[in-house]
């Protein structure tokens, strides 16, 4: 059994709490992404799973076995370091078969398994080359192969793509996902890039300031973010979040967005939930992809500051830099000059408590 269970996991460094009370279960064979900005506690969490750091409180279980106190060499986890930690004084082969040799496998088995792994990762022609001086893309494959050859039940990856160039990153995302399917291990993947998490993970655990914010499938965290942090962190660009107050209008409950005017009326379910939440101050959220330009009627009117035309999509930046509203359109549309009137798709509207940031969920 290689499910991972974290129970009330806490990590303190002196007076600084890097991880606060984390509870998380990672299923056997699941690909879980730990996602968050730098310093959110994701790497600390993973280092504790690997046994590089001891938790201050709480338990880590692999299946039913309590791992706290088990040294990292005996946990049977594969680990890919951010900088790959390749043994550059050895050949590619010696890197790949390192674990097999150190654990005293017979020479025939060492050779066969290393060569099979090399074949799988297209490293065969490089086997006898010194690992020093190979390109990052190859080093990364060696790092993965070196761990995978030990057939660990649990595989941990620490931002393995942050050092490779953008074009190769896209290729590697697909490859990593395919490898994980093939090996079928439990995989924990640390990243700060929501795109990597969305494209590869079965579930995403979003973290911030040492607190687990939300766990869910990529679409769950995208469609139903638990709070404003998740709403802003997931998506490219993240959700637009505007401060406002609930306001009754003759066409139903809406949100008064101050200088931006009154929003279009809220859908009934959301309006009911907003009423129930009992606080008039709300954060009004909508996805940049789910807005359209309107000719007349209720709309947010904002000056167009900048249009990023990035090929398949065009990202519009509207309004002041500090609280810009973003809108994404497909392709390369012709845009009117000056002030644009946009309206969010009602189905995409989300409300959050202005004080706690927690989502106000409608029906």
């Amino acid at each position: 059994m290689s499910a991972i269970r974290l129970e009330h996991l806490v990590k303190r460094f002196g007076s600084f709490t890097a991880l606060k009370e984390m509870d998380l279960t990672i299923g056997d064979g699941e690909f879980l992404a730990l996602l968050g900005p730098s310093g959110c506690g994701k790497s600390t969490t993973m280092n504790m799973i690997a046994g590089m750091e001891a938790p201050s409180e709480g338990r880590i279980l692999f299946g039913d076995r309590d791992m706290v106190g088990v040294p990292m060499g005996r946990r049977g986890v594969g680990f890919v370091f951010q900088n790959y930690a390749i043994f550059t004084h050895m050949t590619v082969r010696r890197n790949l078969d390192y674990g097999l040799r150190m654990t005293g496998r017979p020479a025939v088995e060492v050779r066969q398994r290393a060569e099979a792994m090399a074949a799988l990762l297209n490293l065969t022609p490089l086997l006898e080359r010194p690992a020093a001086g190979l390109s990052v893309n190859i080093l990364q494959r060696i790092a993965i192969g070196r761990s995978a050859v030990m057939e660990p039940a649990i595989f941990l990856l620490d931002e393995p793509l942050s050092n490779v160039d953008a074009a190769f990153r896209a290729v590697m995302r697909t490859e990593l996902k395919a490898l994980q399917r093939q090996f079928g291990q439990t995989m924990v993947y640390v990243t700060h890039d929501q795109l990597e998490a969305m494209t590869m993970a079965d579930r995403i655990a979003v973290m911030d300031h040492g607190v687990l914010q939300q766990v869910g499938t990529p679409l769950e965290v995208y469609n139903a973010p638990a709070n404003t942090f998740v709403a802003r962190f997931i998506g490219s660009p993240g959700m637009n979040l505007l401060p406002g107050r609930l306001a009754e209008t003759d066409r139903g409950l809406a949100v008064d967005l101050g200088e931006l005017g009154i929003s279009p009326p809220l859908p009934d379910a959301l309006a009911a939930a907003a009423h129930g939440a009992g606080r008039p101050e709300v954060t009004y959220g909508f996805r940049p992809e789910e807005v359209h330009l309107v000719e007349t009627g209720p709309a947010l009117r904002l000056p167009l500051i900048l249009a990023e035309r990035i090929g398949a999509r065009t990202i519009l930046h509207l309004g002041r830099a500090e609280d810009a509203v973003r809108a994404v359109f497909q392709g390369n549309p012709v845009l009117p000059e000056g002030v644009l009137a946009i309206a969010p798709d009602p189905a995409s509207l989300r409300l959050f408590d202005a004080v706690t940031g927690a989502a106000i969920r409608g029906g």
Binding site: G73, F87, R146, N163
Partner: protein, 308 residues
């Protein structure tokens, strides 16, 4: 490690540096080159010259006129059959063969203890490197006192076995050599420790962790990761100590003056005696030159090894 195609500027090749710039470079470094010539080349040539003569300061001639006492390669021929010299060479080699490995393994062991943090690390560190800072003459006098027949070392042994011990450390030919070696090990293990600690600290932590996660135990990690990565620094440390040991003199001379008899007479002690007592400088110059050549060969071999 950031990976973009921002290669550091390629080293300037002949093609990218204009010829006039190269010429200017030569002019600018000329004073330094002349200085090096005087510091290194001049004394060696002078020594070579004198070694081919029978010159001595008592010969009544200034050294440039040493040619009047020209004797060709006679000094070198004498040197080959000088028993006392070759036994001094053998003794020096013996000291080296014993001391350098002991210093290396002691230093390495200590360095490994000091890689991780522990309470009082800084204090122990200061104490450990202190012997290196002691002036050799002082160290020599210290060990001279310690190894007296009625000295503290015999007292300690006496206390341990419960009856007085009178070992004549410095007047027994074998024990005198042992005492000299102990002093050398005491004084120079710290240097080995310092250099090897620097090497150990330089081994990337991630690689050690990666090896651990792949199932390597502490000894395997040391053998397969730390040691190969420290190769260069180990060679440097060993080369320094081998060369220094070849020249072993000061502490030893104060402890035993090379005695009893010639029991602790090393190359340097022998040269010193020939220079100051026998005053046959032409012969000394020949010995010194041969030693220089031998040491240079050792150094070059070591450096070649490092370059690989």
């Amino acid at each position: 490690m950031s990976v973009t195609d921002t290669p550091p500027a390629p080293p300037p090749t002949a093609a990218s540096v204009p010829a006039d710039a190269v010429r200017l470079g030569h002019w600018l470094t000329l004073p330094a080159q002349i200085l090096i010539l005087f510091i290194a080349v001049f004394p060696i040539l002078m020594q070579l010259y004198i070694s081919l003569t029978d010159w001595s300061p008592l010969s009544g001639r200034p050294w440039p006129r040493a040619w009047e006492l020209w004797n060709g390669f006679a000094n070198y021929a004498d040197l080959m059959s000088d028993r006392r010299l070759w036994s001094a060479v053998g003794r020096t080699a013996l000291v080296m063969i014993v001391c350098v490995p002991v210093q290396f393994f002691l230093g390495l062991g200590l360095a490994m203890l000091f890689v991780d943090d522990f309470r009082g690390k800084r204090l122990f560190y200061s104490i450990l490197i202190m012997p290196m800072m002691v002036v050799p003459a002082v160290a020599g006098y210290m060990f001279f006192m310690l190894f007296q027949s009625g000295g503290p070392i015999n007292d300690i042994f006496g206390t341990l076995i419960g009856r007085p011990v009178v070992i004549a450390w410095l007047s027994d030919p074998t024990l005198a050599l042992v005492a000299v070696m102990i002093a050398d090990i005491w004084q120079w293990t710290p240097l080995m420790f310092l250099i090897l600690l620097a090497g150990l600290v330089g081994v990337p932590d991630d690689q050690m962790k990666a090896a651990t996660l792949l199932g390597a135990n502490a000894w395997q990690r040391f053998r397969t990761i730390a040691l190969p990565r420290m190769k260069t620094i180990i060679i440097i440390a060993l080369a320094i100590r081998v060369i220094e040991n070849f020249k072993i003199f000061d502490t030893l001379y104060i402890m035993t003056s090379g005695g009893p008899g010639v029991a602790t007479e090393t190359i340097s002690v022998y040269i010193y005696k020939v220079t100051t007592q026998d005053l046959i400088w032409g012969y000394v110059a020949a010995i010194a030159l041969v030693i220089l050549i031998v040491l240079s060969v050792v150094a070059v071999l070591a450096m070649r090894r490092m370059a690989r």
